[in-house]
Symmetry: C2
Subunit: 201 residues, 2 copies
Amino acid sequence: MTARTGRRPGGGDSRGEILAAARASFADRGYDATSLRAVARAAGVDPALVHRFYGGKPGLFAAAMDLPADPGTLVRGLLSGGLDGLGERIVRTFVGVWDSEPAQSRLVAMLRAGVAGAEAADVLRGYLTDAVLEPLAEATGRADGRLRASLAASQLVGLAVARYLLRLEPLATTSPEDIAAALGPTLQRYLTGEVALPEPG
Amino acid sequence: MTARTGRRPGGGDSRGEILAAARASFADRGYDATSLRAVARAAGVDPALVHRFYGGKPGLFAAAMDLPADPGTLVRGLLSGGLDGLGERIVRTFVGVWDSEPAQSRLVAMLRAGVAGAEAADVLRGYLTDAVLEPLAEATGRADGRLRASLAASQLVGLAVARYLLRLEPLATTSPEDIAAALGPTLQRYLTGEVALPEPG
């Protein structure tokens, strides 16, 4: 049996210790100030092992928070299909994940925590920016890509709050197909269309 | 001095007692099950006085919750300008109120409470439906007006959460003019344009 101190090669409960150390760091220091290296040190494992298990900080966060799906992975999959029809694909995927259980309960809990106070909001903002906004912004290939990505995020967050938290009718019971038809063009315009904004200087 | 029991004509601290009774009823029974008549009875005043002071249940709620602006009044003002350019006018007004203090602090507190738990969500949903969604839905003159209004609400709620709670950048620091230019067409399409939905049967 491996000693509990020092770096271990990844057997035993390395995953459990990494995730516990990650949860503690995200809660104590926030998302941005958490480093894979410090999490690895606290868990007594090699940083390369954390990379191998979770790919990077967004994947580590998704695993530590027990998210039903890793948004970073979903975003990469959506972007691999190109910019054509991206808005509707994003909405379909988003509603598909949120409409299913136990995903919905966990996501609702995370969103509630994220809007409840300034510290949890910092963590959620750091994560969303790293895992979703930056890849989306880059995919637009535009100088104002970050603003475009944050506009898209605002509609998705609003859909989540209106449909799953506030349960505004009839949006709370509208079919996923109708939601994709209604919101898809909004995201498409935000990401690739005319948003009537001056180009950043 | 007027006796503390029985119906009083509206002098003294009638407003304070009405608002205290309203807050208690909204918290205990929720928005939908609160009646102006029961609030008046609890406050020991005539129901006509509650109507005269606050116009109706949405106005009573806004006053009881110390909202910086009565959304019901704002919506009526916006709708009086007709459907042309309505989307951009709504976004401008929304951002104008939320960007100012002390409005922003109070609205942030209300939104946090509204998404924190199921009971507060019920109250906020009841209020938004009564004060904002129903007038908007009616103004569209469409059979699917309620869905259109809830789509518009989802983008506004998402803007509030992204800009003021999560503070996603660069949306959190984008100028009100640029936000109106970006989001105005979205609301306009939801309310009056093609949303690719089958007409409700």
